[in-house]
């Protein structure tokens, strides 16, 4: 009896229990994410929009990218010829850069940022930010590939038409880029940023001047596109945008360190010098964000041992504003001689003269070291003076992405290209930059005589004296800031990339030289190894043939002359290289893209 009673009770309990479980559990099958945000949280509050737009900053070059870009530039002699300039070494199969993730991220934001709960000024500010980064993204794509598909929404997975579309003409894309920048300039509310790490209205105008100058000159000089007629309007927009920054931005050329140091302060300061630097990759010791510039520019194995060519160093003017290359006998001056009395940016760009470093607390002489440099002209623009920073990603200097000097040069160049550059414009731009570097002559009125050295060695087709000087100035002022390759592209001067990599002048073999004038001998060139070596001197073998084969480092006249580096590896330039190839696998996925001419496999 008792048994049956209990079992009945038990069953009743069980049935009730199961029923409770069933109803309770079915609810548990509705689960929503907790550790992630949803659309309302992102687009329904300003904090959410800010959270999202923070991700756009990764469109900007990363910390180590900026100073590496000039590894392929006419003035950079490096350890190996870049594959891009070597026959057979670069093709569509090794090509890259056809990456569109950042664009979709931006487009998703633009399309969804429409929550009416947020006032339109706030929303438009963030959409403006998104459109700034979309313009930045597309500018990079057009520079690299020319025509690219213009996409202004996140493509749906089933959107066959959009996914497999062909490329749009660069004119359409660049018009859209400029429209994005105009929108951004009108709607971004931030007008200044003392941290130089955020996008302000004037950073937008700065980028617009850069973009329009690129496209305007590209269309003017790359005549095969038949777009030269559209160049003036673009150049005018470049000048106008730059003028906006000059008139309203509140920036100024940094002069706080005097002529001998102000320039380099911009590149070695921990916090961006925000009077001149408009946007930077900011380092922070406390937040463990560093750069590897010292490592890159001092290690014999880590980077590619970038040094400048003598052809470029020759363009630095004398301190009185006259061209160094007008001096008789300048060709045979030694390093110690030629580095005297020059534009004071030279001493802030390369190791020379009284430059010293700190090694474990001690001040040490720092002449160019031939265990690093191939030419003698060893960069210091981005490196800190303490050797502590040399061996790793420990650099504490912020890396500039945009600064006022560039805007001045953009303005000057656009105006000169338009034929409208006045003496006053000259004085405010190139003149001001030269004055900052201690140059005393030619800073108030634009030049009238076309420099023969620049014409002969760089731009034979340019006869406008001011334009030539602006190009000289741009090379010197913005060296290693990642502009040079695309400057050559837009000037249609790609063949400069095949110029020999020449170094300093060596008067004689077997004669140790003092490079920095401190009385200590630094380097000696030989063809037959000397029986006894002077302590502290680096000995460099320049005999044309080594036991291992051809010597890449020789003198132009065998026993004396300029150092030549890597003449034995040929570099080539053809017009098709003005664009990069579309990667092979991407072309296979969508043959409609079509390959850039000359890169077909």
């Amino acid at each position: 009896m008792i048994q049956q009673y209990f079992s009945r009770l038990q069953r009743v309990m069980m049935i009730a229990g199961v029923a409770a479980l069933l109803s309770g559990c079915a609810k548990n099958l509705d689960q929503t994410p907790v550790a992630t945000a949803d659309k309302d949280a992102i687009f329904g509050s300003e904090a959410g929009m800010k959270l999202y737009t923070n991700s756009f900053y990764d469109v900007l070059p990363s910390m180590g990218d900026v100073f590496r870009k000039d590894a392929m530039a006419d003035y950079s002699a490096v350890s190996a010829v870049p594959d891009f300039l070597r026959t057979g070494a670069y093709n569509a199969r090794v090509a890259d850069g056809w990456d569109w993730k950042q664009l979709r991220n931006i487009n998703y934001f633009i399309v969804n940022c429409n929550n009416p709960a947020i006032d339109s000024t706030t929303r438009n500010n963030y959409v403006g930010l998104a459109r700034f980064f979309r313009a930045y993204f597309y500018f990079e794509k057009v520079k690299r590939f020319g025509n690219v598909p213009w996409i202004n929404k996140p493509l749906d997975i089933n959107d066959q038409e959009g996914l497999y579309a062909g490329r749009d003409n660069r004119t359409l894309v660049m018009d859209s880029v400029i429209a994005d920048l105009d929108y951004a300039a009108d709607h971004i509310t931030l007008k200044s940023d003392a941290s130089a790490s955020q996008i302000t209205k004037y950073v937008v105008y700065g980028l617009k001047s850069r973009v329009c100058l690129f496209e305007g000159t590209f269309r003017k000089y790359q005549t095969s596109y038949n777009l030269a007629g559209t160049a003036p309007a673009l150049l005018q927009q470049a000048a106008d945008a730059a003028k906006k920054v000059m008139d309203e931005g509140g920036f100024a050329i940094n002069q706080t360190g005097g002529a001998g140091a102000s320039y380099r302060q911009l590149f070695i300061s921990a916090a961006p010098v925000a009077t001149e630097v408009m946007l930077a990759n900011v380092t922070s010791s406390t937040l463990a964000v560093f750069n590897d510039a010292n490592w890159y520019f001092t290690s014999a194995t880590y980077g590619n041992r970038l040094s400048f060519t003598r052809t470029f160093i020759n363009t630095y003017l004398n301190i009185d504003g006259t061209p160094f290359t007008n001096e008789a006998g300048h060709e045979t001056q030694t390093f110690a001689q030629e580095t005297q009395g020059r534009d004071m940016r030279l001493q802030q760009t390369i190791r020379m003269g009284s430059y010293t470093r700190t090694d474990n607390g001690k001040t040490v002489a720092a002449p160019p070291v031939f265990s690093y440099t191939y030419t003698g002209y060893m960069p210091i623009k981005f490196t800190l003076d303490d050797t502590y920073y040399d061996g790793g990603t420990t650099g504490t200097n912020s890396i500039t992405l945009m600064r006022y000097a560039e805007i001045l040069l953009n303005y000057a160049e656009a105006m000169a290209e338009l034929g409208k550059l006045s003496d006053n414009d000259w004085a405010k731009t190139v003149g001001a930059l030269r004055a900052r570097a201690g140059i005393t002559g030619g800073i108030t009125a634009k030049p009238t005589v076309a420099d023969n050295y620049l014409k002969t060695n760089y731009f034979p087709d340019i006869s406008d004296a001011a334009l030539l000087e602006i190009r000289r100035e741009r090379g010197i002022e913005l060296v290693l800031e990642g502009f040079r390759f695309h400057d050559l592209i837009r000037w249609k001067a790609g063949d400069l990339l095949t110029k020999p990599w020449v170094g300093m002048y060596v008067p004689a073999l077997d004669t140790p030289m003092d490079l920095n004038g401190d009385g200590v001998l630094d380097v000696c060139f030989y063809k037959t190894a000397p029986a006894e070596q002077v302590k502290g001197v680096t000995y460099i073998n320049v005999s044309p043939v080594l036991s291992s084969g051809t010597n890449p480092q020789v003198l132009s006249d065998d026993t004396h002359g300029e150092i030549h580096w890597l003449d034995n590896v040929s570099r080539e330039w053809d017009d098709y290289r003005y664009l990069y190839p579309v990667p092979y696998t991407d072309l296979q996925l969508n043959p409609k893209l079509g390959q850039n001419p000359g890169w077909e496999l």
Binding site: K39, K50, Y57, A165
Partner: protein
């Protein structure tokens, strides 16, 4: 590592039994790290621990090369300490009612897995000049603590009715309910600025680079199930199963699915017409089944848009702000993956059951297979979602044969047995939405594991190397792009003068063809055992009859300096590298990076270097002796045995002809602790040989 288990049951009344199983285990694991490159340690040792570099300077400090790679192992400071504590408790009851004809069963399991991680990254001192100490890894100097807990519970309640009726009818009916739920919570904190390199607690991290991360995931499944078994006189057996399952991982309109199955068996040898003497054939059973099962083992929330939050690597306005970005793209729909299997089998016994054999053949159709969608052009701009995109057909079989007998040896019985098991399967994609049948994705008709590649056609020679550049423009035989004698030459399958993969589709695959298959085929095991006069012996072999392996781009152990010029040069390559004196060598002209770089000529899959990774391994061999009863009883023991056991003593693979540095059982993923596992092939903790001398005593 330790564990505790407890088991108990109690008969509360004569009809109600309650039981409880409890288990607790704790495991600790230390994974060293290096702060030079910060990558996986096996990979890093392979490509940066230069064998000819010195570890120490004459004054006892580390060299830079050492500090950059394995140097910290001397101090043992950098590393991740893992701790996993598992607790599991199952409580259940069995109630017998209706004169033991009806049983009600229920159980409740709770399991908690607590994972803790402590990662310490501190600088490693080295010296490049006497008396001058410098450091690598100064950018880190941080401590990361991560705690995560996975709480899981499962409950089953079901009733069983079982009865045998007159006339040999047997019936068992079961029906019940099942619910499972898991909740994951996580918390991780990283902070830099350790005040000294032995700091083991976050209180000693004073830096302002603080990274925090939360984490939460919850899923639940519930199901109702039934089973009916019917048997008649042990001759005919029938079983019908059904489950109706729902999962929180699927959207509400695709959440539930029903999975039925039916199986039947016929013991022919029990039939009255069966007159075969058991001396010849003692048992014969024929089996068959058909049914489907669901697989819902996917990530939670896969059908919902999620904005992940992470910390930016950039300093923006003085801080490294949190960021989020575009959410995952959702698949068009998401539901259970269903596999429907048709199985046929036979069990036989011969010669008074000394010889037994059984075999199974099956056909399994997997529908709505959960996999990544087809590759889209890069302008899509994000990862293609995973969804129920494919159907798969698997055909397989399995056979076991066993012989067990004894005979007298020196008046004592000698027992011995031998068992062989072999199985095989192949799987074919029957449906996949692949426009143009691209070879980069699944395509209908694709055999899983198939490897497309080029066929080798010897090396270019001085006579014909002039054509190489035009014919093989897609490839590079060195970084400079120069072609020389001794470089790889591919066969021009379609005679168009150029080597390429056409449109990389099934219809137009250029000069590629299927050169092999990575699926392990003919997996087998062989067990031998014997005992005689208290001595015993057993051994177990295991192997795979056929499988191909392509050494990937980062398989430095295989490629040596063809991967990176600063790698080790494997001994196995000596004498096998092309030269004018050795024009038929296995490896081509010696050049760095050509296996690693995407366009390198050894990066392309090709027939010559595809490895036959079939193998046989002696997994275990054991000999021992049971001490005689007469001897041990004096020591008040009930049993005692001594034994010698060895694991992984011997292996053989055709691959060993090329390299003995790789193990065919460990050639897949690498360094899974610290990264995605794709950074190399075969860079793993090796499979160890071990020998154990043991003594087992029972009191």
């Amino acid at each position: 590592m330790y564990n505790v288990r407890a088991k108990g049951n109690i008969q509360l009344t004569d009809w109600l039994q309650v039981y409880n199983n409890t288990e607790y285990s704790s495991r600790e694991y230390h994974n060293p790290l290096n702060v030079g490159e910060g990558g996986g340690i096996w990979r890093n040792m392979a490509d940066e621990a230069h064998p000819s570099s010195m570890l120490f300077n004459p004054d006892g400090t580390l060299t830079y090369t050492a500090a950059y790679t394995v140097g910290d192992f001397v101090y043992g400071k950098n590393g991740i300490d893992f701790n996993r504590a598992l607790f599991r408790n199952t409580t259940g009851f069995i109630a017998n009612v209706f004169k033991n004809k009806f049983r009600l069963r229920g159980d409740f399991t709770y399991q908690s897995i607590a994972d803790k991680q402590k990662r310490l990254r501190v600088q490693v001192p080295y010296s490049a000049a006497p008396g001058v100490v410098a450091y690598v890894g100064t950018g880190y100097n941080d401590l990361m603590m991560k705690d995560s807990t996975n709480r899981y519970f499962a409950s089953n309640v079901y009733g069983e009715y079982e009865n045998t009726f007159a006339g040999g009818h047997y019936l068992k009916v079961l029906g019940g309910f099942n619910y499972e739920q898991a909740t994951y919570t996580g918390l991780a904190v990283t902070r830099n600025g350790l005040i000294y390199s032995d700091a083991k607690d976050l209180n000693l991290a004073l830096g302002s680079n603080i990274v925090t991360a939360g984490g939460y995931e919850k899923w639940a499944i519930q199901g109702e199930f039934f089973r009916v078994n019917y048997g008649y006189k042990d001759r005919y057996l029938l079983e019908v199963n059904g489950r109706y399952d729902g999962s929180s991982k699927f959207p509400s309109n695709q959440r539930y699915a029903f999975f039925p199955s039916v199986s039947a068996g016929w013991r022919v040898s029990q039939e009255s017409f069966w007159h075969v003497p058991s001396k010849i054939m003692s048992d014969l059973k024929i089996r068959g089944s058909y049914g489907s099962l669901g697989n819902g083992n996917i990530n939670s929330y896969a059908f919902q848009e999620q904005f992940l939050i992470a910390q930016s690597g950039r300093v923006i306005n003085g801080i490294r702000p949190q960021t989020t970005s575009q959410p995952n793209v959702l698949p068009n729909g998401l539901t259970w993956e269903t596999s429907t299997t048709t199985n046929g089998g036979i069990d036989m016994a011969f010669l008074n059951s000394r010889l037994t054999a059984s075999g199974d053949v099956y056909l399994r159709r997997t529908t709505d297979m959960f996999t990544v969608g087809q590759t889209l052009p890069a302008v899509f701009g994000t990862d293609v979602p995973k969804g129920n995109y494919a159907n798969l057909k698997t055909i397989g079989w399995e056979a076991t044969i066993s012989w067990r007998d004894q005979f007298k040896l020196a008046d004592k019985p000698f027992h011995y047995g031998i068992t062989a098991v072999i199985s095989d399967y192949t799987a074919t994609i029957t449906k996949y939405n692949n426009t143009n049948n691209k070879l980069s994705d699944y395509y209908a008709g694709q055999k899983l594991g198939e490897i497309w590649g080029y066929e080798n056609d010897g090396y270019w020679t001085a006579q014909n190397v002039g054509q190489a550049k035009a014919a093989q423009a897609l490839f590079k035989a060195s970084n400079s792009g120069t072609w020389l004698p001794g470089d790889i030459k591919f066969k021009d399958q379609n005679n168009d003068g150029v080597i390429n993969n056409g449109a990389n589709t099934v219809a137009d695959h250029g000069d590629m063809k299927i050169i092999g298959n990575s699926t392990p085929r003919y997996s087998y095991g062989l067990t031998l055992d014997a005992n005689w006069n208290n001595f015993f012996f057993s051994t177990f072999f295991q192997g795979v009859g056929k499988q191909d392996w392509w050494p990937g781009a980062e398989s430095d152990v295989f490629w040596g300096q063809y991967n990176r010029p600063y790698n080790f040069m494997p001994k196995s390559q000596v004498g096998k590298i092309w030269s004018e004196q050795n024009p038929d060598a296995y490896f081509p002209r010696y050049r760095g990076y050509i296996a690693q770089n995407g366009s390198g000529v050894l990066n392309a899959k090709q027939s010559k270097y595809l490895q036959n990774a079939a193998y046989i391994r002696l997994k275990n061999i054991q000999v021992g002796y049971n001490l005689p009863k007469t001897f041990i009883s004096r020591a008040k023991l009930s049993a005692a045995r001594v034994f010698l056991s060895a694991e992984n003593l011997w292996a053989h693979s055709p691959m060993f002809k090329v390299t003995k540095d790789l193990d065919p059982e460990s050639i897949g993923r690498s360094d899974t602790v610290t990264d995605s596992g794709n950074s190399g092939n075969g860079n793993n903790y090796p499979i160890l040989k071990s020998m154990t001398l043991g003594l087992n005593v029972t009191f």
